[in-house]
Amino acid sequence: MSWVSDYQYTWLQKLALNALQISGHIPHHIAFVMDGNRRFARSKQLDKIEGHSRGFAKLADVLRWCLDMGIREVTTFAFSIENFKRSRDEVEGLFNLARDKFAKLLAEIERLDEHGIRIRVLGNIELLPADLQRLIASAMLRTEHNDKLFLNVAFAYTSRDEITQAVESVLQAEENPDGEDALLPTDINERLLEACLYTRHSPPPDLVFRTSGETRLSDFMMWQIKSSVLYFTQVLWPQITIWNFMAGIIAYQRDRSRIEDFRSEQRLHSAQLAKSSDFYSLRVQKFLHKLDANRRKLLIALASN
């Protein structure tokens, strides 16, 4: 399968993977900032697009490692809205690569069902070319019933856009049929906005893994990562090995206990907010249900374009 590779482990890798899995806590959700494809291409005197293509091949390996490690949710930062500033050739090359990969994904959909993989694309997909929108929407709709591994691909994404989209959803809340406001001003707080993000059905990432030695987050999941462990490594994304991956998992296992109290406080704060703002009231839940229905309607419209 092109999205999840058939990686062949050595006995030592298998032993290390099992040891980590059995003895420590495995993150539920990992987010990857796949950085360094172009620097890798430059260092090997390859074309930029070839660098991105190798990067995608590496993602297939990483997804295999995650699947075997027992990680339930993976989010990858594939294309930022800021990346539209790159040269036209490069942007078009990236779109062609995405077209190719999503078309292959649709062709081997049975294997995704077999593994229970659900694909979700996070981002403002309406900024993308119409044919790519169609492929993405089809892939999301076609895998929406799978629930073993969630693969979120952040494409045409920035955190600012995501937060603005959440605010926009609240401001566009339609009146109920009985003429009442869909939301009361007191319903609006961080808990409600969180429920309007693209990641509304995902837990926040436990670990954010960024390659290529950069130590910034580049506007990726800024809202969600308040209690995530950040792991920065020097290796370029196409050169990442299973040992780099496991080093990230060990760092998470080491740091998790230190941050646990903070995470509990955050969970408690979130629960208090939900209680104080009637988050579980019929009114708010109706609004969120409508939000889901509208998003699905949009996907159906894009898929049938």
Binding site: R216, S218, S227
Partner: protein
């Protein structure tokens, strides 16, 4: 079964080794911190002169310096106190960084530092450091005249320090802006904002900046004082391109560490998506 037991044993041994290494490292860092503090205590004047020379060289060699530095103090941090913060404020002032923010994720009982205790409060989140009283004393101590210069050769001004509230200034502030817009959603202004997402994004940006009141709201460099690299919820709207560096909990933070971070910051290339 045997294989599983072996894996469990290897995994636990690995975690034990990591934990032992970390404990020994912490002890070593505390010992070093004690030695440094003792040296500082006896060699106060010489240390200040050395710092000045170090920063003079740093500024000569660096092509860029951050305008806005943010100090993130993690919820698990036990060693950052008011005196350490004042030392860092002093380094920032010597180097010529105009704006510095402090984001302390700790609770009062866990060591939260209220910078109002040693800074001059101006308005809202803004404080000046040193306070007028400290400033006069510092000038008299350093050269006996009314002019004090930083490592850049410019007259030292007061450092503008902002205390960011972990509960009110991050996610909650965005929610507050959303509530404000929601109340006014019937107005033509808000309806106009809903025609294009960029307009709404710009409006949110403008209102958040107004509310925070920091002249350069996006910090370029962030130093995380914690055993874990984590943002602890620091300004989700503004910290998007901040370069984060973690200073391990318990390790002494001195002028050399500060200069090294400035070198790291100057070396990194911001591509802004290109």
């Amino acid at each position: 079964m045997m294989m599983q037991l072996l894996c469990l044993w290897i995994g636990q041994l690995l975690l034990l080794l990591v934990a032992t290494y970390e404990l020994l490292q912490l002890l070593w860092h505390r010992l070093q911190a004690f030695a440094h503090r003792s040296y500082d205590y006896w060699q106060c004047d010489r240390r200040q002169q050395n710092n000045r020379l170090l920063f003079e060289r740093t500024i000569r060699e660096l092509e860029k310096l951050p305008k806005h530095l943010v100090l993130v103090i993690g919820a698990d941090e036990r060693y950052v106190d008011a005196s350490q913060l004042q030392r860092i404020f002093g380094y920032a002032q010597l180097v010529g960084i105009p704006y510095l923010s402090v984001y302390d994720a700790r609770s009062v009982k866990n060591g939260y530092v209220d910078i109002g205790r040693f800074c001059q409060w101006s308005k809202d989140r803004l404080y000046y450091w040193p306070s007028q009283k400290q400033n006069k004393q510092q000038i008299l101590e350093q050269n006996g005249n009314n002019k004090c210069v930083n490592a850049n050769g410019r007259t030292i001004g007061e450092l503008q320090v902002f205390q960011i509230n972990a509960l009110l200034d991050g996610h909650a502030l965005i929610a507050k802006m959303c509530r404000e817009l929601y109340v006014n959603r019937g107005t033509t202004e808000v309806q106009q904002l809903l025609t294009k997402r960029e307009l709404l994004s710009d409006k949110l940006n403008e209102r958040l900046n107004q509310e925070l009141g920091i002249p350069v709201p996006e910090p370029e460099l962030g130093i995380i004082f914690s055993g874990v690299t984590c943002t602890f919820g620091l300004l989700p709207w503004h910290a998007r391109f901040t370069e984060f560096h973690t200073h391990p909990s318990g390790r002494h933070f001195d002028a050399t560490c500060f200069a090294q971070l400035l070198y790291k910051y100057a070396r990194c290339e911001q591509r802004w998506g290109k």
